[in-house]
Amino acid sequence: MSYLNIFMSKDRIIFVTKEDHEAPSNAELIEDDPNDPYEDHGLILPNGDINWNCPCLGGMASGPCGQQFKDAFSCFHYSKEEVKGSDCVENFRSMQECMQKYPELYPQEDDNDSAPSGGADNAPSDSVPTSSPESTPATTENPAAS
């Protein structure tokens, strides 16, 4: 049972038990338009392109090696080979070369060969806590999250 507190004031408080909230919600939410031009998209845009501005990429596309990263990752993304990205070795090599010049920015980890995971690894360490990866700011700043 839930207990309702009706104040004289403008602030209402409702206390609910777990059972109270067991039944699925009947609140109506508007369906999202996948082609909404205003909406922030994830890594891949509706038209299939890569969203270089995705916060998930961190600073990868904007740093000194941004161009090499974009080339390598685009090649990988559009690669139609059986082993995806096998035709992009050159791009990845030049990207790695560039990154080696900036060890501070791109800490040399063993799995630097694969751009997405390398990017993902680097992203949390040097990215701005943004709202798109929801958990990051929530839990970055809230050690209480357990």
Partner: protein
Amino acid sequence: MFKCKAVWNKLAPLVRASSTLCLQNARKSVLRHGRRLEMVQKAQMSSGPAGGGGENTLYYVLVGATCLGTGVYAYRTVSGDKERYNERMIDLVNRPKQGPRAAEAVTEVVAGSKEEPVEEPTLTEAPVEEPLVTEAVVEFTESEPVTEPLVEASIPEPTVETLVTESVVEASVPESIIEVSVTEPVAEAPAVTQSEEPLASVVESETEPTPVIITAHVPEASPVSESAAVSEPAPAAEPVESTAAHSDVPEHAPYLLIGGGTASFAAARSIRARDPGARVLIVTEESELPYMRPPLSKELWFSDDPKATETLSFKQWNGKERSIYFQPPSFYVSPTDLAKVENGGVAVLTGRKVVHMDVRENKVKLSDGAEISYEKCLIATGGVPRNLQVIDRAGEEVMKRTTLFRKIEDFRSLEKISREVKSITIIGGGFLGSELACALGRRSTDLGLEVIQMFPEKGNMGKVLPEYLSNWTTEKVRKEGVNIIMDAVVKNVSYKNDKLEIKLKDGRLIETDHVVAAVGLEPSVELAKSAGLEVDSDFGGYRVNAELQARSNIWVAGDAACFYDIKLGRRRVEHHDHAVVSGRLAGENMTGASKPYWHQSMFWSDLGPDVGYEAIGIVDSSLPTVGVFAKATAKDTPKAATEQSGTGIRSESETEAVAVTLKAETTAPPPPVQQKEDYGKGVVFYLRDNVVVGIVLWNVFNRMPIARKIIKDGEQHADLNEVAKLFNIHED
């Protein structure tokens, strides 16, 4: 010719007026006389075309007076105009400009003003002399050839160059100037190469000597030259520095970002992501590279690392260390290399403030005189902490012991002070004040530090959280070791016996060693005047549209932007995530996206390491709210449970009684009673016209997307409990 035209322009309406007056007079007289003539048969052919003696004279007097008046008025207006024109010209050329440009303006002055007898001879010579003079300025040639043209040319000639400093009207003054300009280089023979430069800089930038020079007459030339020579060594040093400083300032930046904070960095990143090879220049007043602000009042204080204040590194939730700087220095390109580097980059120009913005010419001027032209500009100047008027007026001793907390240096200084003094008082009960109070409170036992927090509201976050949560928060802050004084309006702060004495309006007196004022942010809108940008009177900040644009090629983001939110209306938000979101959006729009503010930013706050909340939208305690909380059971929030274990068990068994007591307790204001109610986890909806415009997630995490969706929908929900179900507050 100009004079005639001006005169004619002024006279024409008057002429018309007086002629109509004459005509009317004539008609009247004719009519009158006509009637008279009918009546009086005697033909009186006295003087005047209209006939009729007395009236004739009156008529003539009237017309005469009108013409005279017209003449006087016209003369006065024209001479007034002339004066104003001259003053304007002086203003224009007196504005500190670089040599060549000043010379150009001067040429215009010379070409434009016809009234000057001085100008006549210079008209022909000026264009010829200009390039010589300016070349000398630019190329640092010997002083001799430079002074020669000055000496050779007719007396008015140097006025062309030195017109920069003096009134165009004063013909006698130029003589003294020549002497000054001649004596100076001679006197400064050793500093030959610099002589032209210092002279230029003296005449350009030092407005102080110019009135001296203007008023000096020929006999006084020597003292003038002396005083000018005295001021010489000082500006002589300046040009060396300023030229050195100027050299690292690029002249042009395709993307110019004013301000080096969170919004600016987010925009830089966005621009670089969308425009390959973009060259972005960030100009910041601070001496630091872009950094994030939240850890300055949170994580950095909780860090166990004693070196945290130096390295500014903190531990994230996932255990990883990171610095507050967004990127290490190697990420950035140096400003001098910005134009040359192959794939473009982001350069940061530190320690420079943009003081003037010329929107027509698309360029800005820095505090050191350098100018940068741009194609697209972002203003992300943020703000400066507000101070209490009583502290402002209280004198230096009080100001020395007051911290306005915002930047890295404030954090370092406060951290040091917290280890030295015995008592710190924080004025302000909002986010910053409460966070600092908690941070300092935690250290209070170790350091033997008394931490006091005072504010005019009834509880911490009184303007943000509904009363019951505000009271709960206040209790929490108290538990961190802070002595909270509510309903405190500061009336007076004074320095007595090596202590600060704060007097409140209700008479209470608080003694403390140091004060931290956290009473809000004043958005920095100093560029509004020169750039002609609108400033919002309700919220402060630059007024921009939904796409964060102030004018073509100018965008504003971050704390300084008062923007139109499509869903929630016009607002100005001072949170970190908003700076990121708006900076990113501005960057997108600067690269052609034309997107409005759509992705709702969120914010969060930590009240010590145990309790935190996240919020989104308009979170204003004056709005009606509906809070849905998980009933506390013994299992929930183990940490909180240790403090309020009695409550948890009670509420399970004594259901009916609790309902009644709840009602009674929660309606009572005093905080100790509220303590029994555990608002451990829950969701609070803020309503405006029955639509949810703001949501606070109280100790529930990772649910922000749902909250964002609800606000985006903007629907009127009949039962908010159903909406609350979407959040699954009972689960972790």
